[in-house]
Each structure stands twice: as C-alpha cells, then as structure tokens.
C-alpha cells in the first residue's frame, strides 16, 4: 500500500523551517503570496527579488533538490502558459530573435512566471517541512471552521486507503486482461470510478459509526496546540516584509 500523497510530501529534517510552528509558517506563506501577487506587472526588480527570496526559502529547508525539484512540477502549467502567451496576445509586436511577439504578452508572461514560481517555491518549502498532522493543528489554531479542518484531516488520513483501493482495482482489472487504451475501455474506467466512489462513501458511513461509538458529538476534540514564539513569528513574516519593501519600491 502506498505511503499516501500527504505523507511523502513531508521530508524529515532539522532546519529552521522544520522547527518553526506550522501556524507561523502558514501565515508567513500566505502573507508572502499576497504581497507578491500585488507587485505590478513589469516591475522586474521586485519580481526578480521575490523569486530570489522564494529560492532562498526553499534552499534554507536543507532538503535535497532530488526531493524538491519533482515537486516543483506544479509550476509547469504556468511555464507552458507563459511560453504561449507572447505568441497569442495582441498589441504591439516586437522582434524576438527570428520571430515577432506581442510586447504586452511578453511582459504578462514574465510577470506570471515570476509570481507563479515564487508561489511554487515557498509552497514546496512549506510542504516539505510540515507534517500533515501539524498542518491540521495549524488550521485548527487559526480558527478555520471545524468542518473544513475535519475534511483536511480525513483527506490526509484516507488518501492512502483510497489510493490503495484504486491500485488493487487496477491490478484486478489488468489481471483479467483489461487494457485502458481505447474509447471502448471508457465505460469500464467510469464503472471503476463509480465503484471507488461508492466504496469510499460506504467507508465514510462506517467511520462515522465508529466515531459515534466513541462519543463523537459533532466536533473533533482540539489537539494540543503548537506554541509559536515571537521570534518564530518575526522569522516567518520576514520574507513577506522584504517582499513588501520590494513592492513599495516598485510602486514609487
């Protein structure tokens, strides 16, 4: 059975970010992303600065590139979009090597790439240094509504169970000669997806019964909350503050 997507994102370590409370990290991450998104397009100095900041944060985790690079693949759709944008956008055309491209498209593409990549870098830094359980605790401490915390918590727990079921289903299909390569296989794939949904739904009902049996009355008990020291807050918000400085510079 797989270890579960939520579980293999996290890499054990002892860096500053690993030791920082997930609550401070989550707030710091959110603040940085908001500031970076607010940087106006074409403000290259601020954009390059925030990108460097993102890289610095990721490097500071001490997690090897072998682990972090594949996870940065979440940035790929933005890269593809940024590559296409200068060719499809309208407006003034400027020569770029042997071809001509849209000037405004080029600026938008560069801006998009820098912002998305910064987000991906700090997002991966957060993911590799935060255990799923700590993320749940942080959400609870930040007073995210209970149903949402419960959904995240159950997703973390049951992703591996459901993906294990899916893997067994695929093996069972393949064992009986199924090859999902043509249109004719679509009904089978749809039926498997339906079966997986029904099984997960039924499991949900059984889990609920087991919870009721142990006195569940509509609210998950609050787990011991992590402590966040003032220095942790300062450190967690530092990247957002630096990016804020860059933003102010760009707006002047």
């Amino acid at each position: 059975m797989g270890a579960g997507t939520g579980q293999h994102l996290h890499v054990e370590g002892n860096s500053l970010l690993h030791r920082m409370s997930a609550t401070a990290k989550l707030v710091g991450l959110l603040a940085l992303v908001v500031v970076v998104v607010a940087i106006p397009k074409g403000a290259w100095f601020a954009l390059a600065g925030s990108l460097c900041l993102g890289m610095l944060v990721l490097v500071s985790t001490g997690v090897s590139a072998r682990h972090t690079l594949p996870r940065l693949a979440v940035d790929l759709p933005f890269v593809v979009f940024a590559l296409v944008l200068p060719f499809v956008a309208t407006g003034t055309r400027v020569p770029l090597g042997p071809v001509t491209v849209s000037e405004s498209g080029l600026v938008a593409a560069g801006t998009l790439l820098a912002k998305a990549s910064t987000g991906a870098l700090v997002g991966v830094a957060f993911a590799v240094t935060t255990a799923p359980r700590d993320l749940v605790l942080a959400l609870q401490q930040l007073r995210v509504p209970d149903p949402m915390v419960s959904i995240v918590s159950f997703m973390v727990r049951y992703l591996s169970v459901v993906s294990g079921e899916l893997a067994r289903m695929r093996i069972a299909l393949a064992s009986r000669g199924f090859r999902g390569r043509s249109l004719r296989s679509w009904p089978t794939i749809a039926a498997s997806a339906g079966a997986l949904f029904v099984r997960s739904f039924e499991r949900g009902e059984r889990v609920h019964l087991a919870m009721l049996s142990r006195g569940y009355a509509g609210r998950l008990p609050a787990l011991e909350a992590p402590t966040t020291t003032p220095s942790m807050w300062a450190l967690a918000l530092a990247p957002a503050a630096i990016a804020g400085g860059l933003l102010v510079g760009a707006l002047r």
């Binding site: 059975m1 270890a3 579960g4 579980q7 799923p132 359980r133 749940v136 918590s153 159950f154 973390v156 727990r157 049951y158 591996s160 169970v161 499991r203 059984r206 889990v207 019964l209 087991a210 919870m211 009721l212 049996s213 142990r214 006195g215 569940y216 009355a217 998950l220 008990p221 787990l223």
Partner: protein, 243 residues
C-alpha cells in the same frame, strides 16, 4: 444479585426497507464473562452489535447496560460503557497519529491534559503498542492496527468490550498475540466471530444467533460438539479440528 452488564429483552429491529434483522433477541452477559456470539452470515450479528451502543434503536424490546435503559438521555453514558471494536481497523482509526486517535474517545468524555495522557498511555500499554504512539495509523501492520483499535476503546474504560470478528485477516502469530492480550484484559468481553477455534480458546460461554434470534446459549465446547445444532445454523469447525 447485580445487574447484568448487558441485558436485552425481546429486541426486534427492522431496516427501513422492511427486512426484519432481529426478531426478538433475549441475551444477557454478566460482569467478568467472556462470551462468543456465533452465527452464519446474515444472522443479524452486526445489527445486534449496533444496538449495544445505541447506534441503532430497537423497534421493540429493551436494551439495558449495567441497569441503565438505552434512551436518548443515556446514549453518551451507554457509549462510554460499551466499547465496540469494528472489523476493519481503517474504519476506526481516523486521526493523524495513534496517540490522537486513542485520545479521541476520552477527549469526547471531557478529559484533558495529564488525565488524558495517562488514559492514552494506559490503553496503549495494555495492548502492547506504547512504542507506536506517534506513528500515523496507516503506517502500521494490520495486526498493529487491530491492537490500536482495541486501545482506542479501552481508553474509554468500558464495562464491556464488544469485538466484531477480532481474528479476521490476522496472520497466525498476530492471531495468537491478540488472544494473549484479550486474555490479559480485566474486562467483560462479547466477541462476535466465525472463528470457532478462537471462540473455544477464549470464551467459556457462547450464544448462537440465527435468523434474528438467539437459538442456543451454553458452554462453548458443548455447543461446538452439538453436530446437529451446528449443521442447522451453518456453523462448521475448520478441517481437521475437533473439540
């Protein structure tokens, strides 16, 4: 004489579709007993288990736990007294770590801080998995998960432990280790099982549920030797076994 831990009288239950799963169950279990509940598939065993902690409510008849009738007002107390361990530990273990999961029940009872930690340690030690406290449940072997599932219920200090097919899917060593743990626990046990040798090993008394009624009640070994009874209710010892 003291009240039986479990006392069911004339319990009937019909599912919303109309199918009557229990047709008048009379059953009592006294403190300190280990009782096996045997029966073929579809006999109503799981339906009966869900009545014991008021997940399902009888259409007619009464369920009492240590002298307390199951009513809307007593549900919380009934669920503390009757600890149900379900067949699939993945249904029971849903928190991020073993410790969080074992804390879930006592925390719902209002325990916090040191009292809660003490309860959790006590339960984990009783089933020999204290060293797994900080592991995520889905990283454990099936046998370990079954033991943690029992700990989650023991942490509520139940008066009776109800186990649904405790030996299913366990390898022989894990099956034996679980038997040793169950024998060492100082708690009343009702064990629902198809595993007749396991019932004979652990329970001095057995009940046979068939067609929604208790059709036999007596010493486990005597029931297992009664070939006619066994055949009539689709119960069989595995090949090569005799009692």
């Amino acid at each position: 004489m003291s009240h039986p831990v479990l006392d069911l009288r004339g319990v009937r239950y019909a599912y919303p579709g109309g199918h009557e799963a229990l047709s008048g169950v009379d059953l009592h279990v006294h403190a300190g007993e280990r009782v096996a509940l045997l029966g073929p598939n579809g006999a109503g065993k799981t339906t009966l288990v869900l009545h014991l902690n008021a997940i399902l409510r009888a259409t007619s008849g009464s369920v009492s736990v240590s002298g307390r009738q199951v009513t809307t007002d007593t549900i919380a107390e009934i669920r503390r007294c009757v600890g149900v361990v379900f067949q699939d530990p993945d249904d029971q273990l849903f928190m991020p770590t073993v410790r969080d999961d074992v804390s879930f029940g006592p925390a719902n009872l209002g325990l916090r801080g040191d009292d809660l930690a003490e309860r959790v340690d006590e339960a984990l030690t009783a089933v020999g998995v204290a060293d797994l406290a900080d592991r995520p449940p889905h990283h454990l072997s099936f046998g370990q998960r079954r033991r943690v599932a029992i700990a989650t219920v023991l942490a509520m200090r139940p008066e009776i432990l109800v186990l649904d097919e405790p030996s299913s899917n366990l390898d022989p060593a894990a099956r034996r280790e679980l038997a040793e743990i169950l024998e060492s626990l100082d708690v009343t046990i009702l064990m629902v099982t198809h595993d007749l040798p396991y019932a004979a090993q652990l329970c001095e008394r057995a009940l046979v549920l068939s067609g929604g009624r208790i059709v036999a009640d007596g010493p486990t070994v005597d029931l297992l030797r009664d070939e006619e009874l066994m055949r009539a209710h689709r119960l069989e010892l595995p090949f090569g076994f005799s009692v």
